[in-house]
Structure formats: structure tokens, C-alpha cells
Amino acid sequence: MVGVAIVALFIAMATLGPVLLPFDNTYYLTKRYQPPSWEHPLGTDFAGRDVLRQVINGSRDVLLVAFLVGIITTFIALVVGISSGMVGGRFDAALMAVTDVFLIIPSFPLLLIIAASLPRTLSPFEVAFIISIVGWAGLARSIRAQVLSTREKPFIEAARCLNLSNIHIIFSEIMPNLLPYIAVSMVYSVTGGVYSQVSLFFLGILPFTSVNWGMMINIALYNENALINTKAWIYLFSPIVCIVLLQTGFILSQHALEEVFNPRLRSEE
């Protein structure tokens, strides 16, 4: 419950925040590095901009990309896993070879290369898409394994005897059984989305288009020299604390989901 509450808080911050406290990107050089005050609850940065507003407005892209990553990754994994498991034979072997290749290739370096080779600034959707492209393989493999074990179950045989279509079997017989697993993995991919995206901006691989936590950390470290410059600590720590909190929220929600779907976990305690 705590996890869901944290995530809900961040979602509220990302959706309502930018409306209530819009970000003003003009430089106020007379107000650089101000300590926290009523006007600027988290102080100001090297250009006199409000830190709190940057954190709030930065959360929008972070969450948007993270959720998109969750959806796209799960979608690719579902399509690959289910078709591979259902069709079988050579098709399955070929598809799994591709999946294994994606599983073994070091994914973060690959992501960096892909991101760097794209010629222009990327929309949140495109960022989410390239993160998903390197991250779907593990989930596809386990979905396939689940499909393989589910399709031998008697109720699938019953459905086949009733001459129900493959489409029906996939969507009405197999999918509902996979649903708990898919939901949990989706939350897991969302944390991966936060991680990869913030890191791409931190390393400066993606150009800075809008405010974003990874960008803030990058600027804090390389432009403000925040490790030594004590005045920049708030600017550095605000996005960092947000990342830690948000990820904790997602992981806790994931655990909560697991417990809902798998009552055995609850009785163990």
C-alpha cells in the first residue's frame, strides 16, 4: 500500500504539478544558488531557476517514458512469447534464437549506441521505444515458458475439442492465466524504464530537450561541480531523492501486486 501511495503521489505530481507550478526557464542571474525560502522551497540553481519547479516538471517526462516502456516492453514480449509458444517448431526455434541474442548482447551499451546513432532529438515515445527494444527478451522468454506449460493443461485441450479458434484460446484461455505475471513484470519494466532513461540523460547521450531528472544530475555534476560546490547540493539531491523514492514506490507496488495474485506469499509471513 505504501508503494502504491508513493507512485500515486508521483503521478499526481507529474500530471497536476506542471499545471499548478509551471516552470520558468528564464535565467535570473541575481538569484543564483539561493538557499531554500518560502518563495523557492528548494532554493534556486546556477541560473537562478526554481529547483522545486524543475523537479516537478521533470517528473512528467520521467513517468511518461517509464510507463510507455512498461507498455511497449510487455507488448513486444507478449507478441513474441505467445506466438513462439503457440506456433512451435521451426518458427519457435528461430524466434527464440533471436530472443537469446537480444538476451546476451549487453543491453545498456547497445541502448547507448542506438540512442547516439539517432540523428535528432527524441520524443518521449521514441525514447521509450528504444529502451523497450533492448529490454524485452527476458520477459518474452518467460512468457513463452508459461505458454508452453499452460497449453498442455486439460482446459486448453477441452477448448480444442470444442473447436474453438486459436484466437479464442490465446485471448480467452491462456491470457487470463498469464495476467498476474504480466502485471507484475510490467511494473518491473517500468522501474527499468526510469533507470535507463535517467541514465541516458545523465551520461548526456540524449540531447536535453525539456527538464528531466537525469539532465539535472548531469548538469549538477558537470556544470555546477556539485560534488565540491556545496551550494549546488540541493539541486543535485532533489532529483536523486525523487529517483530513489519513485523506484522504491514501484518495487513496493510490485511486491504488493505479487502478494495479491499469489496468496501463498502472504501465508508465509
Partner: protein, 333 residues
């Protein structure tokens, strides 16, 4: 044997795909390094033709050839150990890799061993205390820490331990600024070694903090599954000492999958070092890799990515071998 053969085939396929992806993606990179070099050379007074041949020599790249011939030339170059020259640093890529690899291997293997040992011990302890407060606290820490990028933890450690408490040098980099690194063929001075060790402490600790969780969880689930086996119950029924059961019955069997995982993580060394090396300005492969991307230094990018992939592929092969050696059940499949 068939299993190993199939796995090797898969690994070769992976290596080949990585090479291909590498070849095509870097050619798509904006601010095409070839054009950039051509421009630079022409500004230095070279004629267009001269500039082209120079560029072709430098990055072992035939500018006018059709793409498949370029690809073959690229593969041939790699087999000869020719990775081209870095554009930005104007040195052969192999020299740069030769400089970077030891730093990464040194810091990351230290980190890996430490987090593996701590993780295996803690994982086993909490598997025995399932459901206790300790278990819940450690498990939560373990799963959250895996989702947090290393640099986030690194900042806390640097600011608290190096800047506030002054336990460690606060200047980043692999060794102190006034320490002279040993020349080629020279033995490193004592001063150099101690400086390197003190500077390695925070990067290593950062890696341990973020990666120990994964080992804890792996060991915990491995131990729990072993604890459910009948031979453990049988050993208990025979009245064997707890010590013996924990070490030889549970411990050894629970460690089996851990060793194969360890082999895989050795291969992931160059991947996991990207953040830490960028944060601590540590001149390893991870640092060169991300820098080469922002410099658009395409031969260097290729070289780093290749080393990373080769390491991963070999480690996977090692893990497969190890697994089938250690666990005869796999061999029979």
C-alpha cells in the same frame, strides 16, 4: 555435448549480430565522423582525394565501396586485430583499450568478488530466517537497490565519506594528481599503489552497494529451493550436525547456480562499469565508451562495444561449461 554445441552456436550468432549492429549503427550516427574528418583534413590543406585515402587508412574504411564490401573489410580488419584509430585521441583503438581494460578489470573484479561473498552469506542467512524482520528489511533493500543507478549511490558516498568525513580522497580519478604512474616496464612505486587503492575504494564500494542486493536475492531463492529438498530433511533426520548440513548439504548445492551467475557477471563487467567510471572519472572501458559516443568517435565506440560483447559472450560460454561441469543433470539433457 550437443547442448554445449548449440549454446556455442548461439553465442557465435550473438557475437556476429553485435558486430553487424555495431557496423551499421555507427554509420548512422549523426555528425558522421567520416565527413567530419574529411573536413578537418581538407582544412589542413589536403586535397579531397588525399583526405579520403587518409581517412580510409585511419579508420580502415573504404569510403566509395558498396556497403557489403565495406562490411567485409570491417570484419577482415577485426580478425587482424585492427580496430582503426580513435579520431579524437589520434591513437590506435587497441592502445586505448589496452590502457582502459586493466583499470576496469582491477576495480570491477574487486567489486564483484566483494559483493558476491557478502551477498552469498547474507542471502543464506535470510533464507534461514524467512519472514523475520531482518529478512524483510534486507529483501526490500536488495530489490530497491537493483533499481537505482550506481551514480545515485556514488554521489551520497562521495559527499559523505570523502568530502564531509574526509576518509577518502575527494579528487576523482584513478590516482592522486601528484602521484607519478609507472612508465612502461617499470615497477609501480609504493606511493602509486597506495594512491590507486585509496582512489578505488569509493567506486568499489558504490558498486557493492548497488549490486550486492542481486546476489542476496539469488542466494536466498537458491537456498530456499534447496531447503525444500528431501536430502536436507534426510540429513536432518540422521542427526547430522547443523554445521555440516548448512555447509555441505545446503550451502554447496545452493552455490551451484551462483557460480554460473558469477561467470556471467564477470562478462558484464564492462557494462556495469559505465556509470561508476563516468561518475568517478575512472579511465576504464565504460568511461571511454560513453565518451566516445559524445565525441562521435566511431572507431573507439566500435572497439569498446566489441570488447564488451566479446567479454559477455565468453562469460556466457564459461557459465555454460561451468554449469554442465558442476551439475551433471544439465549434461544429460
Amino acid at each position: 555435448m550437443r547442448w554445449i554445441f548449440r549454446r556455442s552456436l548461439l553465442l557465435l550468432l550473438t557475437l556476429f549480430s553485435a558486430l553487424t549492429i555495431n557496423f551499421f549503427l555507427v554509420r548512422l550516427m549523426p555528425g558522421n565522423p567520416v565527413d567530419q574528418m574529411l573536413n578537418e583534413l581538407m582544412m589542413q590543406g589536403y586535397s579531397y582525394e588525399e583526405a579520403r585515402t587518409t581517412v580510409a587508412q585511419i579508420i580502415s574504411f573504404v569510403p566509395d565501396a558498396p556497403i557489403h564490401e565495406q562490411y567485409i573489410a570491417f570484419l577482415q580488419g577485426l580478425f587482424k586485430g585492427d580496430f582503426g584509430r580513435s579520431i579524437r585521441l589520434a591513437t590506435p583503438v587497441t592502445t586505448i583499450l589496452g590502457y582502459g581494460i586493466p583499470w576496469t578489470v582491477f576495480s570491477m573484479s574487486l567489486s564483484l568478488v566483494i559483493s558476491f561473498v557478502i551477498g552469498a552469506l547474507l542471502g543464506m542467512v535470510i533464507a534461514y530466517r524467512r519472514g523475520s524482520l531482518v529478512d524483510r528489511a534486507i529483501s526490500l533493500y536488495a530489490s530497491v537497490s537493483g533499481a537505482i543507478p550506481a551514480y545515485v549511490v556514488g554521489f551520497f558516498l562521495v559527499i559523505i565519506l570523502a568530502i564531509q568525513l574526509r576518509w577518502f580522497p575527494s579528487e576523482l580519478g584513478p590516482y592522486g594528481r601528484n602521484v607519478i604512474p609507472p612508465g612502461p616496464g617499470e615497477l609501480p612505486s609504493l606511493e602509486f599503489i597506495s594512491s590507486v587503492m585509496r582512489h578505488a575504494f569509493l567506486p568499489v564500494m558504490t558498486y557493492v552497494v548497488v549490486s550486492v542486493g542481486g546476489w542476496i536475492l539469488r542466494m536466498k531463492s537458491s537456498t530456499i529451493s534447496v531447503l525444500g529438498e528431501y536430502y536436507v530433511t534426510a540429513a536432518e533426520a540422521r542427526g547430522l550436525s547443523d554445521r555440516r548440513i548448512v555447509l555441505t548439504y545446503v550451502g554447496r548445492n545452493a552455490m551451484l547456480p551462483m557460480f554460473a551467475q558469477f561467470a556471467i557477471y564477470i562478462g558484464l563487467m564492462f557494462t556495469s562499469s559505465v556509470f561508476i567510471e563516468n561518475m568517478f572519472l575512472y579511465p576504464g572501458i565504460g568511461r571511454f565508451f560513453s565518451q566516445s559516443l559524445s565525441w562521435r568517435d566511431y572507431p573507439l565506440t566500435s572497439g569498446c562495444f566489441l570488447i564488451t560483447t566479446i567479454a559477455v559472450v565468453f562469460a556466457n560460454f564459461l557459465a555454460d561449461l561451468l554449469y554442465s561441469r558442476l551439475d551433471p543433470r544439465i549434461r544429460l539433457e
